[in-house]
């Protein structure tokens, strides 16, 4: 347990010194995972909403599949993306392997099912509540989706946070498609993996603490936005 105290000290020293390498790594972590979350929301929310309000044959099967995809193993996603982006793969001509873009793609694939499945559940519950009202207003499908997404926005923020949390914490996908290249594709989780491989467990743990602090910061910011917005709405 002596590592724990040392890790805390190292984490504090690193943060206080404003280490430029650390800032770069933290910055890239946020850039990649926030971009992946944004794209996953753009894809997942409309699909989730559509699934929430439509009934069709085989819908149950689709829901089971979408829910199961929440458990996609990151390293498998990484391998699939690697095989496509590799120079020997179908998209190799793009030259995207070992770039932050490749990491965004992998994380987007990883978390879009999470956003889709969770938003579907949230919006379906909401829809059940408002169904009669919507009917009486004769809303079109698009209008219904728009109204649901707006009314469910606070719950959907939590959905977004779940997606972001999964993205920023995973290592299996980004290490395969990003390659953990110093000053190019190294993010918090791959840096932690590298320090672990060097046997520098205290530094690895210290970086882990910083990563958790960042996640806490993002969540606190979202919470603050939500509180301000609800207060403004009730004022």
């Amino acid at each position: 347990m002596q590592d724990m105290g040392e890790a805390l000290q190292l984490a504090l020293a690193l943060v206080l010194s404003g280490d430029p390498d650390l800032l770069e790594i933290v910055g890239l972590s946020l850039q990649v995972s926030l971009t992946a979350t944004a794209v996953a929301l753009l894809l997942g929310l409309p699909i989730g909403a559509l699934l929430a309000i439509t009934r069709f044959r085989g819908r149950d099967a689709v829901l089971v599949v979408v829910n199961a995809l929440m458990g996609l193993p990151p390293v498998v996603v990484g391998l699939l993306v690697y095989l496509h982006l590799s120079r020997a793969g179908p998209l190799g001509f793009l030259g995207l392997l070992y770039t932050p873009t490749a990491m965004v793609i992998a994380q987007t694939i990883l978390i879009t099912p999470i956003v889709t499945a969770l938003s579907r559940q949230v919006l379906e519950d909401l829809h059940a509540e408002y169904d009669e009202q919507f009917r009486s207003l004769c809303l079109s499908r698009i209008e219904t989706i728009r109204a649901l997404l707006w009314d469910g926005r606070y719950a959907l923020l939590t959905v977004a946070l779940a997606g972001f949390g999964r993205a920023v914490a995973e290592v299996g996908a980004v290490i395969v498609v990003g390659g953990n290249i110093d000053h190019l594709t190294r993010v918090m989780t791959t840096a932690i993996a590298l320090e672990t491989a060097k046997g520098d467990l205290a530094l690895a743990l210290g970086l882990g603490l910083i990563l958790m602090a960042i996640a806490l910061g993002v969540n606190a910011m979202v919470q603050a936005v939500r509180l301000t917005a609800t207060r403004a709405a009730h004022a």
Partner: protein, 270 residues
């Protein structure tokens, strides 16, 4: 509103995609050269001299060669001579150069359950570990170190497959991870000396066996063949290979020390 968010996200994606520049190369590498800090020492010198940026993907030798076979790299720097020669023979590499060497060591817990501490014959030591059925942690990942280890078991006449899951434990992971695991379960393991010297989580582990000719560890460097892989930055890649095996590069390798010990010994011809 959707469109605006979308274009913002698209912009962010595009903005992150500007990694591959003309003046940069990608090296598919074994892990020991990164974990030991050699690249942190070498690359700034090379980049200063040439302005060529070197990016390193450090994976096991087996995976590095496979990635290079997929044309995902300009230069290959690994340590498994047979596989390297095969790579060149298959037309995937231009030419293989000896680069440097160090040696493998067998490390184990201070309690030394197989009684091999101080032995200088790796083959005998391996036979004794098998005899005692003392835990041994293997990389199990087709890396350069793993293939060396399998050669040693073979020459010691030990069938490790039969013992897998018993005293013989394959971690299927990199050198550092395997060392962490070995320390955790008090198992012997084979490691290159550079990774061992730079490894910080040694617990009470010590070098048990060293100094055998069989433990020699040769590193090689190869330019990936631009005829097979048009994406290869041949000019910059060749410049890196040429520099590594030049007097300046060899001196830079020799000058890398950790705790007062030289980690790699240059031996390029020329």
């Amino acid at each position: 509103m959707y469109m605006r968010t979308f274009s913002a996200a698209a912009l962010a994606v595009v903005a992150t995609g500007v990694a591959a520049q003309d003046g940069s190369i990608l090296v598919q590498s074994t892990t020991s050269t990164q974990a030991s800090g050699l690249y942190d020492h070498l690359l700034p010198i090379f980049e200063e001299e040439t302005g060529i940026e070197v990016n390193v993907v450090a994976v096991g030798t087996g995976q590095a060669i496979q990635n290079a076979r997929n044309c995902d790299g300009d230069v290959l720097l690994v340590h498994a001579q047979d596989q390297e020669e095969q790579f060149v023979e298959d037309g995937m590499g231009v030419e293989r150069h000896d680069l440097m060497y160090n040696d493998f060591v067998v490390v184990g817990p201070a309690s030394d359950p197989a009684g091999i501490a101080g032995m200088t014959d790796a083959q005998d030591a391996f036979a004794q570990i098998a005899e005692a059925e003392a835990p041994f942690a293997s990389r199990g990942d087709e890396s350069g170190t793993h293939s060396k280890e399998l050669q040693l078991w073979d020459s010691a006449g030990v069938d490790v497959e039969a013992a897998s899951g018993g005293w013989y434990r394959e971690t299927g992971s990199g050198m550092g991870q395997t060392l962490n695991t070995a320390v955790g379960m008090e198992a012997y393991t084979l490691t290159d000396r550079a990774t061992w010297i730079s490894f910080e989580n040694r617990g009470d582990f010590e070098i048990a066996v060293e100094g055998d000719e069989d433990l020699f560890n040769q590193y090689g460097v190869i330019l990936v063949n631009p005829d097979e892989c048009p994406s290869v930055n041949a000019e910059a890649g060749q410049a890196f290979v040429d520099w590594l095996i030049s007097e300046a590069g060899q001196e830079a390798i020799a000058s890398y020390e950790l705790d007062g010990q030289q980690l790699f010994f240059p031996n390029a011809e020329g």
